[in-house]
Symmetry: C2
């Protein structure tokens, strides 16, 4: 696992420690992490702060040129909302820790020109599997089920 | 214009008064407005609070059953991010004030089963046209250009 996915995983663990859903994300531009975030549904009573959205918000208002050089890392395959945010800003690359727990609109992302890599990482997966077993209703709420 | 689009337009005007981008949104369930919002890029330095996102956030954590009966109103055709949020929560109906200023992924939304109506409303359009003429860079930032 590279240092960026490690940073995303650290965010996911931070979320878990806070009593939240353990999904983390970082935004990387020119090799530097410019934003970090994790799911804040529980912590902030938020319907929109998935990890990737929190990360993009924490990265702040960036220029179109910055987004065009960015890579969005997430411990989990981005959902429709987070994929849509990447499309809005034309972020060209997404790296997902795994997509067995949940799979977003991956083929649509690719059809729109996004380069998407899925690491199939065991640590990312274990974190979610343990969480979902303990809090199935919370997880379902997070994915609109 | 129905009372819901009027409420969305009132949100857009509120945003303009605050020095923000004049796009407004409301979420309606069973005839009742359960959330209102407007674009807060300027006001909160936000990269994610488009009107529809702000509206969904202000509506709070709703059940899947609630979202399934909802209609999302926006003064402007929803972008990739906001369309994605509607898809995440399987909101079945979207009403947009206009789509001449900007057109989101409308055919994709329809292909995913969303019923989308576009009102082609002159007031919604005038509000955006005047704003874009005055602040073209801010508008471009908002749509990732």
């Amino acid at each position: 696992m590279d240092i960026y996915m490690q940073a995303a995983l650290a965010e996911a663990r931070k979320g878990l420690e806070e009593g939240g859903i353990p999904i983390g994300s970082v935004l990387v531009i020119d090799g530097e992490i410019v934003g970090r975030g994790h799911n804040r549904r529980v912590q902030q009573g938020s319907a929109i702060l998935h990890a990737e959205m929190d990360c993009l918000e924490n990265a702040g208002r960036l220029s179109a040129a910055d987004y065009r050089r960015a890579t969005l890392y997430s411990t989990l395959s981005p959902c429709d909302m987070c994929s849509g945010a990447a499309l809005l800003y034309r972020i060209p690359r997404i790296v997902a820790g795994e997509n067995r727990t949940f799979q977003g609109p991956e083929s649509y992302l690719r059809s729109r020109g996004v380069e998407l890599a899925v690491l199939d990482d065991a640590e990312c997966m274990a974190l979610m599997q343990d969480f979902i077993a303990a809090y199935p209703a919370l997880w379902n709420e997070d994915i609109g089920v």
